[in-house]
């Protein structure tokens, strides 16, 4: 009955009136800019003659590939690199190191920061109502609990999107200022089916950000659930971050030990990039398998949040 848009406006109001939100936005902007300068320092003087560099590496790779005992994964990786390097030399396409696109590919790491901040905001948006006691006046309105929870959930991602766009835009502007538009037209190269393909660099970078969005979606949903169940933002933030940073390492260790069931763990599926370049964690895992596992976890987390929030007696 009460308009969903109005409920989201309310969440928006509460998010942006908290000083913490602006501190987070400030940090994100500073880090985006600092990232550009660091990247510039790292690649200063390394430019040199890219042709010579690539030719030298290809000679090395040729030698490596002659080695009969090379394991299959390394061989495949080296072959791909060799193919791409040769393509660059043949078509006069310098690699994107030390230019705008090279930097932008690296800044996809800023998504971790965006995820961190989104987790903080979404965990606080639920648990904060409980700790401030404002939950009481919030729930005695003609709006069902499901709607209130949905408004909070959706506006968390509204903030995530804002942060994402800000991070992207600021590093892009920093990159343009520091490196100019040199190499603007150079496409991204990748190998598929033994052939080298070209792709727009902009799309490639957006894709990199997008793949990290999986982590953001899953960890925010997880933090949201914890904060609904335990009404503690500290616990939700702590647990979500701990899992986000250790989860993939633990999963990799287990996979290396040869446990097959590891593929059903959430963190074995949050990184989808191997399906586009590289090898999956466990042999036989496919993109559709990972997407299915993610969907199951996603529905599970949301169902728990919804059930608990719907049933909860608000005491104290």
């Amino acid at each position: 009955m009460v308009n969903m848009v109005r409920l989201m406006q309310n969440e928006h109001l509460k998010t942006y009136r908290r000083p913490g939100t602006w501190v987070m936005i400030g940090i994100l902007l500073l880090v985006s800019i600092a990232f550009g300068f660091l990247y510039q320092m790292e690649h200063e003087g390394a430019a040199g003659d890219w042709r010579a560099g690539l030719e030298k590496q290809n000679r090395q790779d040729e030698k490596t590939l002659q080695n009969e005992n090379l394991n299959q994964m390394t061989r495949a990786n080296v072959e791909e690199r060799y193919q791409i390097n040769q393509y660059r030399l043949d078509h006069n396409m310098p690699p994107a190191a030390g230019n705008l696109w090279g930097m932008m590919s690296e800044t996809a790491a800023l998504m971790s920061l965006v995820t961190l901040f989104t987790i903080i905001v979404s965990a606080t948006s639920v648990a904060g109502e409980f700790s401030q006691g404002t939950i009481k006046l919030l729930l005695i309105r003609p709006a069902s609990r499901a709607k209130i929870l949905l408004a909070k959930y959706l506006s968390s991602f509204g903030l995530a999107l804002t942060l994402l766009v800000l991070a992207f835009t600021f590093s892009f502007i920093t990159g343009l200022i520091l490196f100019g538009n040199e190499g603007w037209e150079t496409p991204h190269l990748y190998v598929q089916g033994g052939q080298v393909h070209e792709q727009s660099m902009l799309l490639h970078v957006i894709g990199l950000y997008g793949l990290k969005g999986v982590d953001l979606l899953m960890m925010t949903t997880f933090a949201f659930m914890i904060s609904v169940v335990f009404r503690s933002s500290a616990l939700a933030i702590g647990l979500a971050l701990f899992l986000m940073f250790t989860g993939s390492n633990v999963v990799m260790m287990l996979a290396a030990l040869g446990y097959d069931w590891v593929k059903y763990i959430l963190f074995a599926n949050t990184d989808l990039s191997p399906y586009f370049s590289g090898r999956p964690l466990v042999e036989g895992m496919t993109l559709s398998f990972s997407v299915t596992v993610l969907a199951v976890y996603f529905l599970l987390f949301n169902a728990i949040s919804w059930l608990v929030f719907h049933k909860r007696d608000v005491a104290a």
Partner: protein, 309 residues
């Protein structure tokens, strides 16, 4: 024809685990009535109120608001209710106005001017655009009332509304509540463990203890129940002699002497006869004074004298 009650509670029960917090509670609040909900701390007042506003689930029984079942049609029923549950906890990082805007967006078809109207009503015009964290408790209480009145409810539910207010604040609050109830045509349900407060504010009072309804009475009825015996204080001379004589006259009553005054239970109608008799006995009478029966006496009597919070 009988008017439809604004609030009707039918055999309301709340169990948490094996513990029964509220048991079989039934009562009705009529339009325009200020209804008190009285009981010691832990009697189940707050639990009942939380069930009335949908913060807690109902184990058994029904709550009807303007005849609408709260559990079945929560959004429709709750639209008629304005409430403060315990302290009015508002968003400290928002201004008073932003808080009201927030709640305004959550109610249906209320013109935005209504925000200014309630702000004026509670007298917060001066500070409404300041952040709530700078407000005093009294101002927060006013803002809490403003949010409760915002959507022109027909039932106002206040849980221990004067907790933490100073005496002047309590008096202000009481007067305002009466005025609003009249001007906004509101029914009010006020819970309290303070008898004096309920006595001054309410038309009718329900007394609950250990989750059970003990009695529902008119406040006036509770305070002076003329039929019954009540305690009288006699300032007479010589008091000791009077005591022995009175004990002889009323052998089955408790006649005591406290601070040189005689205390005994009497019916009002016995007083003239008794004074004539004492004059005959040459006892000098200075005063005969009824000890005013307060709601407190009545309450203690009803609840068997258990400790008040």
């Amino acid at each position: 024809m009988e008017k439809q009650p604004v609030l009707e509670i039918r055999q309301l029960t709340k169990e948490i685990g094996k513990k029964t917090i509220v048991e079989d509670l039934s009562l009705q609040v009529q339009p325009g009535e200020v209804f008190g909900f009285l009981g010691p701390n832990g009697a189940g007042k707050t639990t009942t109120i939380r069930m009335l506003v949908g913060l807690m689930s109902i184990t058994r029984g029904k709550v009807l608001i303007q005849g609408i079942d709260l559990e079945e049609h929560f959004e429709k029923a709750i639209a008629h209710v304005g409430a403060i549950v315990e302290n009015p906890e508002l968003y400290p990082f928002l201004t008073g106005y932003q808080n009201l805007l927030h709640y305004w967006r959550m109610s249906r078809s209320i013109p935005k001017d209504r925000i200014d109207e309630v702000v004026q009503r509670v007298g917060l015009e001066q500070r409404i655009h300041h952040k709530v964290k700078t407000y005093s408790l009294g101002m927060r209480q006013r803002l809490g009332l403003a949010q409760a009145l915002l959507h022109s409810p027909s039932l106002l539910i206040l849980d221990e509304p004067t907790n933490g207010l100073d005496p002047a604040g309590i008096r202000d609050f009481r007067n305002q509540l009466r005025t609003w109830a009249r001007e906004e045509n509101l029914s009010v349900l006020v819970s309290s463990h303070l008898l004096s407060e309920v006595e001054l504010m309410c038309d009718r009072v329900a007394v609950i203890q250990q989750g059970k309804l003990i009695d529902v009475k008119q406040v006036r009825e509770l305070v002076d129940d003329t039929d019954e015996e009540q305690t009288f204080l006699l300032d007479v001379h010589p008091s000791l002699q009077a005591l022995t004589q009175l004990q002889k006259r009323f052998p089955h009553r408790e006649v005591e002497i406290i601070d040189n005054r005689i205390q005994l239970p009497l019916q009002r109608s016995e007083v003239p006869e008794l004074s004539a008799w004492m004059v005959q006995q040459e006892i000098q009478i200075y005063t005969i004074q009824p000890v005013t029966r307060t709601l407190e006496d009545r309450f203690l009597q009803l609840t068997g004298g258990s400790q008040l919070g």
